[in-house]
């Protein structure tokens, strides 16, 4: 491998300098990010890291992840109108399997809002999670589509990208499984959400169901960062005490406004384990996922 050794020397000779002023500015950004993170320690909905380059898609997927995380949670304290956090928590703990849909719209500054994405999620406390997202990038028009399967018995996360005919499989170790389960524990989520300020929106009717609405603008729930105008609204069935609709609004300065809604909830739905089994088509080849939500490790 003499040629390889020669080439290594070429790399070693090729010098790189650092401009000290630019370097200080870069580090100032990094330090500021650290300070913002430590000043906003609530990470209850940050279920992992999202690997994406597009700033818009980051926002949209982050919002989707937030919605997926919030679904096991009730945001409200005692409001005086009948719903109490303890009641909701007790009801939520009885749910083993639930399914819901998501829809996303994007409004460029000075333009009309338009739909750009939709998704479905099926969550089982024992089997895992299956989700499918399809997004139409508002800037580039690119179609982003991915199915994700988190299989607890098999300890794997499988991602299918139909547009690219690619797939990726990630093995989950004990720590990852434990983290995934811990972060889906409603008790733990509620305990942290209770630390946030929120208000009641009163009673109304959503999708033909009498609900009570709740609202929070605590941006720590959305991970902080460069988003503004963040708002979460939840409407819960006053009879079943389970969520009927959930909405997230957030703006990215200079880019536009994202609206994400979770709806069409089905609670305690019958489920077959086969629904969670990914089927990888024969013509798919291994490839990097479009995004990978990895349970954070303790």
């Amino acid at each position: 491998m003499k040629r390889a050794e020669d080439m290594k020397r070429v790399f070693q000779r090729a010098g790189l300098g650092i401009d000290p002023d630019a370097d200080e500015r870069m580090f100032a950004d990094v330090l500021q990010a650290r300070r913002q993170t430590t000043q906003n320690p609530i990470t209850v909905f940050d279920r992992g890291r999202t690997i994406m380059r597009s700033p818009f898609t980051k926002v949209a997927v982050a919002a989707a992840v937030v919605v997926a995380g919030v679904i096991g949670v009730s945001l409200w304290k005692q409001t005086g109108s009948g719903l109490a956090l303890a009641d909701v928590l007790a009801r939520m703990e009885q749910v083993q399997v639930y399914r819901f849909k998501m829809s996303m719209t994007w409004q460029m500054e000075g333009a009309e809002s338009k739909p750009i994405g939709e998704g479905t999620l099926l969550v089982s406390q024992t089997l895992g999670e299956r989700s499918a997202f399809h997004m139409d990038h508002p800037f580039t028009g690119q179609l982003v589509s991915q199915e994700t399967f988190v299989l607890l018995p098999q300890r794997t996360m499988t991602m299918l990208m139909p547009n690219e005919k690619k797939y990726a499989i990630v093995e989950l170790d004990d720590a990852a499984i434990e983290a995934w389960q811990g972060e889906n524990d409603p008790k733990r989520m509620v305990e942290q959400v209770l630390k946030c300020e929120h208000t009641s929106l009163g009673r109304s009717v959503v999708d033909g169901v009498e609900v009570e609405g709740f609202r929070t603008t605590d941006t720590r729930l959305l991970g902080g960062g460069p988003l503004t105008g963040a708002e979460i609204k939840i409407w819960a069935d006053v009879q079943t005490k389970l969520p009927v609709r959930l909405e997230i609004d957030q703006s990215a300065p200079g880019k536009g406004h994202a609206h994400v809604a979770a709806h069409d909830f089905e609670w305690d739905v019958p489920v077959d384990a086969a629904e969670f089994a990914p089927v990888i088509p024969d013509d798919y080849t291994p490839g990097p996922p479009l995004w990978q939500v990895v349970p954070k490790r303790k």
């Binding site: 070429v10 790399f11 010098g15 650092i18 401009d19 370097d23 330090l31 650290r34 993170t37 580039t140």
Partner: protein, 181 residues
């Protein structure tokens, strides 16, 4: 490895100088890797900047069992891959021929100052298919073992060995006369 774990622990305990040490320790290596992979200094700077920002935001969640160095390197590779994918979906010709030429001259807000040798090397790297470029840069710039690169690329080890061999050979031809014999 132990030094990195101590830095992460220090960072978790609120010591900003630990963040500075991580930044100073890895910035040049990550910048070199990104420049080699993406072939554009400004884009490489953006990618490495984002990697450090994400590290600063998520340091509390990074396990001490793993390697900080591998984490940062993999983050840069993923950042470049996403950039490449975004460009492809824009319908733009990427990297191989269309990125702006690297210049060793310093721009007004440029973080990385490229020597003429590095600019020439990056130009040559851009002529390689991306998979070969990734293998060559990861192995030579970071010392990442080929077996680890095979896992990163999700391909057999022999495929990576072939990409490395072909990549080196093509670089040698492109840099003919500049390779020390």
């Amino acid at each position: 490895m132990i030094e990195d774990k101590l830095l992460i622990l220090g960072l978790r305990r609120g010591r900003p100088q630990a963040l500075r040490q991580v930044y100073d320790k890895y910035k040049v290596q990550l910048l070199r890797l990104a420049i080699g992979l993406v072939g554009n200094a400004h884009t490489a700077e953006d990618i490495v900047h984002d990697v450090f920002v994400r590290f600063a935001q998520s340091a509390d969640r990074i396990g001490l069992a793993g390697s900080l160095r591998s984490y940062l390197i993999t983050s840069v590779v993923n950042g470049v891959r996403n950039h490449v994918r975004d460009r492809k979906r824009h319908g733009e010709t990427i990297l191989d021929h269309a990125e702006s030429r690297l210049s060793p001259e310093l721009g007004p807000a440029q973080w990385a100052i490229l020597s003429e040798e590095l600019a020439s090397l990056s130009e040559a790297l851009k002529q390689l298919p991306y998979e070969q470029r990734e293998v060559v840069c990861c192995h030579i710039e970071t010392g990442m073992p080929l077996r680890q690169i095979a896992a990163l690329q999700n391909v057999p080890l022999n495929t990576v060995k072939g990409r490395y061999r072909y990549g080196i050979e093509k670089l040698r031809v492109l840099l003919d006369g500049k390779v020390e014999r």
